[in-house]
Symmetry: C2
Subunit: 227 residues, 2 copies
Amino acid sequence: MSRAAVIIAAGGAGRRMGGVRKQYLELAGVPVLARALRPFLDHPAVEWVVVALPAEDAADPPAWLTALDPRIRIVAGGVERTHSVRNALDAVPPEADVVLVHDAARPLVTLDVVDRTFAAASRGLAAIPGVPPVDTIKVVDRDGLVRGTPERASLRSAQTPQAFPRALLVEAHRRAAEEGLTATDDAALVERYGGDVVVVQGSPENLKVTGPLDLLVAEAILRRRGP
Amino acid sequence: MSRAAVIIAAGGAGRRMGGVRKQYLELAGVPVLARALRPFLDHPAVEWVVVALPAEDAADPPAWLTALDPRIRIVAGGVERTHSVRNALDAVPPEADVVLVHDAARPLVTLDVVDRTFAAASRGLAAIPGVPPVDTIKVVDRDGLVRGTPERASLRSAQTPQAFPRALLVEAHRRAAEEGLTATDDAALVERYGGDVVVVQGSPENLKVTGPLDLLVAEAILRRRGP
């Protein structure tokens, strides 16, 4: 079996939550970050876990986090998500065949989504989970005028974890650093340098917690899942 | 003030809800369709209200619906959403300057979103509410391989109501009928025939109820809004 490392991007300063760092908020009694970690800790291939925290928190991490699992290593995040992932990637040993990158803000990720992306990356592909967007998507210009309506069947809402053969992700981040490039997801860097990325089936429940409304939604999903 | 008609597309047969017609489901004690109607009934410019129901329901509509407001007129929907809207449009009198088309599946729409789209259409523009997509959007080919990542700043998730000068919408539907064309939203028809469409500010809460999870979310939002 391929040997996997997981990077959790938890460097967010909570700008959209009024300074509240959502990675530490409790969701039905468990911190968001702990929920985001769980299915990776449960996956048999994951040997290394690197968590990128805001720099000041990395120097003095929450006790519950360091106590959670001996595989967890903490690094300081950067200004942008891309920088945080790059710092974490530097802490991934070359023995890792596959690297999974996951947003701490997706606490409802499940083992089956983790395993689908891992399995594709084990076969040498860059793989991301995706679902068809619920709403029609419009392309707009700077004035808000619609320039086009792409076929919905040709679109996917990208989620995380995004999984990569380690060398592919390292090379994409090396070139992005040279260019001073950042992106909202790691797959975009691989795409930019000509790498193939495949979309595997994500889950509508694997939502991103970006504001107070999403916390309500996440709680409702957890209630439905049961204890 | 421009005189407005509203079309509510409520012709869905509930295929994604196991045959349950979600337009009649109660959301915190009020049918989804009644909630979707409310801000239009409250808007001072709305003089005509046409609701497209599944054909068998149009012949025998729910008593609460016909009792809700004297402006409500019911028509039979068609196979696709586009057909339902077209049937409803036939029932809109030529005195209407502006036509708003709204999905019954968006029960959390608010008066301010209705008014923003109405105001833009009153000035002669086709207008739709939109919000930036939360997730990164990927363009994929038939094999699920990523073909590109459009800049997120250039994308909007389209919502309803979509508002149009009446003549513009009538002409777009007439040409679409000739071509046998359907679309997931009415703006796409106007775009196809060269009309300008502007995106106004929507609301993250104006979600589309497409499955059981969305009902939970909608209830959570309503609880937060309070009585």
